[in-house]
Symmetry: C2
Subunit: 139 residues, 2 copies
DNA sequence: TATTGTTATACTCTATAACTATA
DNA sequence: TATAGTTATAGAGTATAACAATA
């Protein structure tokens, strides 16, 4: 595809741009960066090792060390050696961390606002289109 | 909306996450950060003042000064005082800058890949849904 | 010897506050 | 006095390379 830029391309760009900006603002209302909020979000499903976080966040392990260190200093996460393999650190979210995470969730109202503009049928349509775009070419 | 997270919410998140990551990678192939690539993209439509760039990029003017300084040092943009109002600086993209910008465009193949999985009719559907989500509530 | 995580370092992004030049 | 942009500074995100601890 060598075409410079179709209107639909631009629509996608604008959508992502707005979504990102809204998430940044939401995180800031809780005094968090977007990266910190993402990390907390990951931990709401359960504990992770540092390496698992690095994989999930698509970044280097040394970066996770710093992110976790800052969150730990604020009491939002804990970091404890794994009993089975003491090289591994288990990172968990604290009650205070869950509180901040909830604040971000509440402040991040853009997706809800957007989806409220669609009927139930349109939401199903959108879901189908997103799934199809996401599918591997050979599906 | 106090519901924790619907599947469609998650689909939107994943879509944006993948789009962002792909853009970062595309910019990196040209040795640029995402912010630098965005700035170059803005300039392809014509020159901008520093203030216009700050507005477009949703960031502080002092940030634009640094972004432009780095791009200028690499010969990708020029910065010249406006003839009419010498407080204003006009920033322009150079041929070398256009070359790097094209490289990013080519490397950023995710949108094209995704849209190729949709029929023309589905693309129209998607365009309509995006427009509707974007519209102000009173439209 | 291989793996997990940390430390040291460096660069970029970003904002705030103080400043310069121009209007 | 008000505006456009810069400079100084500081904190955060990010990666690479070297390292320590554990397996």
């Amino acid at each position: 595809m060598t075409e410079p830029s179709t209107p639909l391309d631009q629509q996608l760009w604008d959508f992502v741009y707005g979504y990102d900006a809204a998430y940044d603002r939401a995180a800031q209302t809780a005094g968090l960066s977007a990266a910190q909020a993402c990390l907390l979000d990951r931990l709401t499903a359960g504990t992770s090792s540092m390496g698992e976080l690095a994989t999930a966040l698509l970044c280097d392990a040394s970066n996770v060390t710093q992110l976790v260190a800052r969150l730990e200093a604020r009491g939002l996460v804990t970091r404890e050696p794994d009993a089975a393999d003491r090289r591994v650190k288990r990172v968990s979210i604290t009650p205070a961390g869950r509180h901040e995470h909830r604040a971000v969730r509440q402040a991040f109202d853009l997706p809800a606002e957007m989806l409220d503009r669609l009927s139930a049928e349109e939401q199903q349509q959108l879901s189908r289109l997103l799934a199809k775009m996401r599918a591997p070419s050979t599906s």
